[in-house]
Symmetry: C2
Subunit: 527 residues, 2 copies
Amino acid sequence: MVKFRNLDESPAFRDLLRLGPADLRASLTARAVETRRADAGGGLTFSWAASDAGEEAIDLLGRVAAEQELAEKYRLLASGHRMNTGEDRMVLHHLTRGEPAGKVVRDGRDFRSFYEGERLRIAEFSRKVHSGSLKGSTGKPFRTAVQIGIGGSDLGPRALFLALENWARAAGRTRMAARFVSNVDPDDANAVLADLDPETTLFILVSKSGTTQETLANETFARDFLARRGPSGLDPSRHIVAVTSETSPLARNPGYLDSFYIDDFIGGRYSSTSAVGGVILSLAFGPEAFQELLDGAREADERARSPDPRANPALLDALIGVFERNVLGRPFLAVLPYSQALSRFPAHLQQLDMESNGKQVNRDGQPVSYPTGPVVFGEPGTNGQHSFFQLLHQGTDIVPLEFIGFLENQTDRDLEVEGSTSRAKLNANLAAQIVAFAKGRDAPDPNKRFPGGRPSTLLYGRILDPRALGALLAHFENKVMFQGFAWNLNSFDQEGVQLGKVLTKQVLAGGALDEALESLSRALGVR
Amino acid sequence: MVKFRNLDESPAFRDLLRLGPADLRASLTARAVETRRADAGGGLTFSWAASDAGEEAIDLLGRVAAEQELAEKYRLLASGHRMNTGEDRMVLHHLTRGEPAGKVVRDGRDFRSFYEGERLRIAEFSRKVHSGSLKGSTGKPFRTAVQIGIGGSDLGPRALFLALENWARAAGRTRMAARFVSNVDPDDANAVLADLDPETTLFILVSKSGTTQETLANETFARDFLARRGPSGLDPSRHIVAVTSETSPLARNPGYLDSFYIDDFIGGRYSSTSAVGGVILSLAFGPEAFQELLDGAREADERARSPDPRANPALLDALIGVFERNVLGRPFLAVLPYSQALSRFPAHLQQLDMESNGKQVNRDGQPVSYPTGPVVFGEPGTNGQHSFFQLLHQGTDIVPLEFIGFLENQTDRDLEVEGSTSRAKLNANLAAQIVAFAKGRDAPDPNKRFPGGRPSTLLYGRILDPRALGALLAHFENKVMFQGFAWNLNSFDQEGVQLGKVLTKQVLAGGALDEALESLSRALGVR
C-alpha cells in the first residue's frame, strides 16, 4: 500500500539536510563526465557530471525516492489512480503515447484506446487536408493551420512546432504552415490574421472546457476574418476544427468542420502529446512525425519506471532539484537550450513546472513547511551568454542550470570562420560554460574573479528531431511529476488561477466592486 | 563632492531594516490608486498603489536616496564622469536622446554632437533607402532589413521593433520589413535567410568591437547568401552596412555600403537609442518614428533628475526594488506587460537588469555583503495567467511584480463577445490580477486560499506608440542605473562574460585542456 507523506517526514531527507554542495572544482573530472550519465530515451543522454549533488547526496536522494515511493507513485498514476486529488481525477497523459503498463478501463471506457482512436482520426484528417481531398469553402487547399488556445493549449504545441520547423524544412517534411493566437489582447489576433488568406486557412480552436474567455474571444476574430472575405463571407463550419472535451459546447457541434477529443484526465500543461498538440503537429509535419514524437516520449516514460535514480534521468533530475531547493535553498532554475529551435521551450517548461508545483499545500490540502516549485526561466545559448549570464557567473545568488545541446544541426548549411564551423563554436561555448560555471577562476582583481561552484546538468543528443523532442518533453513532464510526489503535492490542479478569473468577471459585469479594483479599472479605462 | 559608499553604510538603510511589508489588504485603497502615482514621461504613469513599501518605507528610501546621493550620481554620469570604473569609461547613452544637461566635451569631441550627427546620417540613409535612390546591387529596392548582432545589439532593438510593428501597420508608417539573426547556432541564420530574397535584403551588422564571434560567423552566412544569387553573386559591399566603433575593423571599410558609429561610452545593453537601435528602427518605421522614441526617452530622463522619489518614478521603482531585495529578501522580479507587442520586452529587461547589477563586488572592486541584482523574468498577460501565475499566487515564495498596460489597442479592430471587447477583457484582467495578488482571498479549503500580500507596481499609458515606448525603455534603464548606484556597483561593465570566452577559444584552438572540458567537448562532438 503506497503511503503519501510530506518530504520532511522522510528520514533520509533529514539526513540529507546535513550535507552541503560537492566541491565542483574537484568533482567535475573527465571520469565524472564519462560515468555520471544515463540514457534518457529518444537518443538523449542525461549528464549530472557538473551537479553539486555528490555521490553521497545521490545515495541519500535515492533513499528519499524509496521512502517516498516515487517510482511506485508513477506506476499508480499510470494505472489510473486518482492522483489529481483536489479535482478527484485520474492523470492519464502517459497513455497518449502508449505507456506500456497503461491499460486503464473505467466505466466501460478503455482510455488508451480512446486516445489512440483520436490520434488515428487526426492522422486521417491530416492526410485528407494534405492530399487536398478536404479543402476550404471556396475549393482552395488549406495552406496554413492557426491554433487558437492559451496556456497549455498554446505554449507546449507552439514550442514543439518551433522546435521542428527547420528540421521539417531540411528533411522535406513540411506539410503546412502553422501560426498561433493566444492572448486576449486584440493586437495578437489582428497581427497574425493580417498575413493570412482566409480561403486557405484552417483554424484549430483548442479549449478543453469550451469556455475559455481568451479562446472564445479569439474565435470571434477568426469568424469575423472569414466573414469579411467575399460578398457573403466564407462558411466557418468548413474552416474551423475544435479540440475539446466530449462534454463541451464545442463537441459534435455543426458549427465546426470536425472535433477531436481529450478529457478531464489530460491536464492542459501535460496535453502536448494529446489532440491538443497532435492536430497542429500532424497538419504541419505529417502524422508520421507526430508518431515519432510520441515514440520518443514513450522511450522516456519507460526510463521513468526504474526506482534507481542513476538509471532514471527524470527521477534523478527531480531529486537533484529537491537537493538544490530544499537542502541548498536555491529558489530558481535556469533552462538553457543551446539550440535556437528551442527558443520557446523554456516558456513551456516555465508553465509545466511553476503551474504544477507552485503550491503551498500538499495533496491533502494541508500547508507544507518547506519550499516547493522554483522560479523557472531561460533563453537559448549562446544568446543568454551576452545577456543574463553575467548574474549567473558573478551574481550574489547561485542559480542551478539545466543545459540542453545537440551534436548536429537541423538545417544543412554550415560555414567555417576562423577555423571552426558555427556548430563547433556553439558546442565549444556550451562545454566551456559548464566548466566555467563549475570551476570558476581566481584572479587578483576581485571584479575578474569567478567564484565557480555553480552547478548544472546537461541533456544532449545527436540531433533535435521528433523522437528526441518527444523524449525531451516527457523527461521534463516526468521530472516535474516526481518532484511533486517528493513534495507530496498535487501537481495536476491549478486553483491559483481562479481568483483572478472571478474578479475579472466582476469588473466586466459592471456591478459593485472592491473600491481599489473599481479605481484601478477606471484608471485602465474599463469602467 | 559626491561620495561613493556601500548601501549598508547608509544610516537610513539600517533604519529601513526594521520595517516589514505594508499590509496590502488595508493599504491598497481607491485613495492609494489615486494618490500613489506619478508622471513617468512619454504619456506614462507609474503607480505604486499595490507596492508593499508603505509610506514610512518610502520616506526612509528617500533618505537612502539622499544619503547615497542617487540624483547627484545621475547628474555626474550625464555630465561625463567616468562612472564605468572597471573599464575607466564615461557612460553617455543619455546623450543619444539629448539629455538636457548633457554637453560632454573631451579631447575636442562634443559627444552630444557626435551622436546627433550619427542620427542625422542614419535618417538621411533611411530616406534614400525608402525613396529608392539607394538600391540593391541588381537595381531592386530594398524590402527587408536584417540585423545581425547579439546581446545588446539584438535584444533591445528586436524588442522595440516588435513593440512597434503593429502600431506602424495600423498607422500606415511601415517602411520596410525587419528580421534579426543573433545565435551562433547555424539554424538561426539558415531559418531567417530561407525566407528572404537577397536582391532586396539589406543587412545591418552590429558589433561595437567588430570582433564578436557570433556576429562575424553570421556575417559569413549573409555573405554566402548574397554570393549564391546569380552566376557571379551579389556585391556584398552594396548589401551590408556596419554599426560599430570608429576604431573597429568594420569602420570605414570598403567592404560595407556604409558605417554608423557608436563608441565605448555606450554600453551594449544601453545602446537601443544609439545607432544600434537607430538604423533598424529608422529603416523599418522611418526616422521620424525613431525621433519620437528618443523624445519619449528624453521625457523619462527629465523625470529622473528629481531627488524626490515620489516625483521620479525610475528612482522610486529602483528604491522599491532595494526594499524588496535587501529588506524583504526577495531575489526575483517578474515583468508582466499586458500587451502582446511587448512579448520580447521582458527578455530585454532581463539583460538590462541582470547584466548590469548581477555583481558581487562594488565599483571599487571590493566584495559587497548584501544581495544585489535579482533574477528577472516575464511573459505577456493574459498568457502568463494560464501559466506561471499559479506559483505567483500560491507558491511558497513571494515574487515582486511589475505590470505594464495601455488603454487602447495598436491595431484598429476589436470585437465584443459576451458584452465586452477584447481590450476591456485584457484590462479587466490586469486590474483584477493586481488586486488578487495584493488582497488574496480566504477560503475554508486551504487549496483554494489566496494568501495575498504579493506586491506589484504598474506602468500605464494611453497607447504603445514610439513616444511611450521610448519612455518605457528609459524608465527601466534609469531604474537599473539608480539601483546600481544604491548598491554602489559599476552597472556598466560585464566581466562575468569573459571566462566562458577564454575557455571557448581554448576548445576551438585544439590545444591542451582541463580534462573535464576535454571530455565534455568530446561528448558534444567538438574535439
